[in-house]
């Protein structure tokens, strides 16, 4: 019975860490692709569009992430499609990230001073031109800290994929702990690995913020 943590176990945890990074990327990229149009739609002139996107956000934000994972994994199977755990987890992360990123970005867009909109309008720019050339560049600056902050959340929340047996870092650490009974070693290593992903992100966010402030 394995009672010590071996090199092979550490390698397994590093593999789990790669899956955690992969899942985070899926969440962030998917969340951006889905979330950005929603953010822009949320400030559109159409009331119906604003309302229905608001409903989507309220719905996703109102469902705990593990339930989203369950729904994507087992729910879709019930409908007759066999989705691998990675795809299901990626879908759940995408839905989850898109709802939060959309709200973060909507807030950033709306916190660009109204005078900027009006000034752009006076220059006879179309709504699209105003958005692309005037509002978005300023909104990006505002959105960096909360976006990176949420990215760190995404990384940590990938651990919910444990409920569908996806072999990310937390799941791997749990398995190894169950077999070796060295919780302090195993979970300390897992914590260090999570930190190794998240700290550079926060650091990068601070640097980017400083750089944009100067620009």
């Amino acid at each position: 019975m394995g009672s010590s943590v071996t090199i092979a176990h550490y390698i397994l945890m590093l593999q789990g860490m790669l899956w955690t990074i992969g899942l985070s990327l899926m969440g962030f990229v998917g969340g951006t692709i889905v979330g950005l149009p929603i953010a822009i739609g949320r400030i559109s002139q159409s009331k119906a569009l604003r309302r229905s996107l608001g409903l989507y956000i309220a719905l996703i934000q109102g469902i705990p992430l593990p339930i989203l994972m369950f729904l994507c994994y087992f729910g879709i199977s019930v409908a007759g499609f066999n989705v691998p755990a990675l795809v299901a987890a990626g879908m759940a992360m995408t839905a989850y990230a898109s709802a939060y990123l959309a709200e973060i970005w909507r807030g950033s867009l709306q916190s660009v001073p109204k005078a900027q909109w009006e000034a752009a309008e006076c220059l006879a720019l179309t709504r699209l031109q105003r958005m692309v050339h005037v509002i978005l560049p300023q909104a990006v600056k505002i959105s960096i800290p909360p976006t990176i902050g949420f990215l760190v959340q995404i990384v940590k929340n990938t651990s919910y994929a444990v409920v569908i047996g996806f072999a990310e870092l937390t799941y791997t650490a749990r398995l190894i702990n169950n077999s070796t009974f060295k919780p302090f070693v195993v979970f300390t290593v897992a914590a260090v690995l999570y930190f190794a992903i998240c700290f550079p992100l926060s650091h990068f966010s601070r640097r980017l913020e400083r750089k944009l402030k100067r620009a």
Partner: protein, 263 residues
């Protein structure tokens, strides 16, 4: 939220349960692979060995099963709470995960004949005298939610009253709580008590009394007559040859009850 998860699972599983199923045995043979759901976080049934590979009594039995069926073994890692959904949503062909037979589970899935038993016990430090359920009154005891130990404890404690049951999400968390001294009393499978002692010898736990002895079997989807017949025959022959007892002895250090030992 736990209730929410349970409700979602139940909704999902009952939907699938209503779908009649095809002949899994033929499907398995056609695919050349049997997908066996095993809990790799439940030593000594399923665990990771020093090389990080699956090991344990269920893993060994599943290997034998695949060999005798003439197909490759694909282990689908599951945990206690998601064993049934994995089976029902066809993410595994069979479940061999120290899968005790319970009436609730029988409503949605079928079982083969049993191939082993899980004795569930109450463990505590040697210094405490706990001969029976009555002595648990006013005490706090740790258990993993939804396991047969949980059921046996809940049933036994109901008659006593005043027992504070703390339910953890999986065995590792329960064991860690006891090994680190957060909890003194544990209700679990007999093998767990020895493991906690290994993790932290200063706890000095011992088995106080046996709550129940639960047979476990291979879980299959409903309406799988061919598969069930094959599995029952396989288990019968493995009990007769003594192979199941050999595997059990190797991992548990004790023999199976007489009726599982063969000649």
């Amino acid at each position: 939220m736990k209730r929410f998860i349970a409700a979602t699972l139940l909704a999902a599983t009952s939907l699938v349960a209503t779908m009649a199923h095809a002949d899994s045995l033929a499907d398995i043979k056609k695919a050349g692979t049997i997908r066996v759901a095993i809990d790799l976080g439940a030593p000594p049934y399923g665990q990771l060995d020093e090389a990080g590979k699956p090991a344990g009594s269920d893993v060994e039995a599943a290997n034998e099963l695949a060999k005798d069926l003439g197909v490759k073994l694909e282990i689908v890692p599951v945990s206690g709470p998601n064993r049934v959904p994995f089976l029902l949503t066809n993410k595994a062909d069979v479940v061999m995960a120290s899968f005790s037979i319970t009436d609730e589970r029988k409503k949605v899935i079928d079982y083969s004949d049993p191939y082993g038993v899980v004795p569930t016990v109450v463990g505590a430090p040697k210094s405490q005298a706990l001969p029976d359920f009555a002595s648990l009154a006013g005490k706090t005891i740790a258990v993993t939610r939804g396991t047969t130990s949980d059921q046996a404890l809940t049933k036994g404690a109901k008659e006593v009253g005043g027992v504070n049951i703390v339910r953890y999400e999986d065995d590792a968390t329960t064991n860690t709580a006891v090994a680190t001294g957060q909890q003194d009393l544990i209700a679990a499978a007999a093998s767990v008590v020895a493991q906690v002692n290994r993790a932290n010898p200063s706890r000095d736990l011992e088995i106080k009394f046996v709550m129940s002895s639960a047979p476990y079997a291979i879980g299959i989807r409903k309406n799988e007559a061919e598969l069930k017949a094959w599995l029952d025959q396989w288990i019968k022959s493995k009990i007769a040859s003594g192979e199941l007892n050999t595997i059990y002895k190797k991992h548990f250090g004790i023999e199976l009850p007489a009726e599982y030992r063969g000649k």
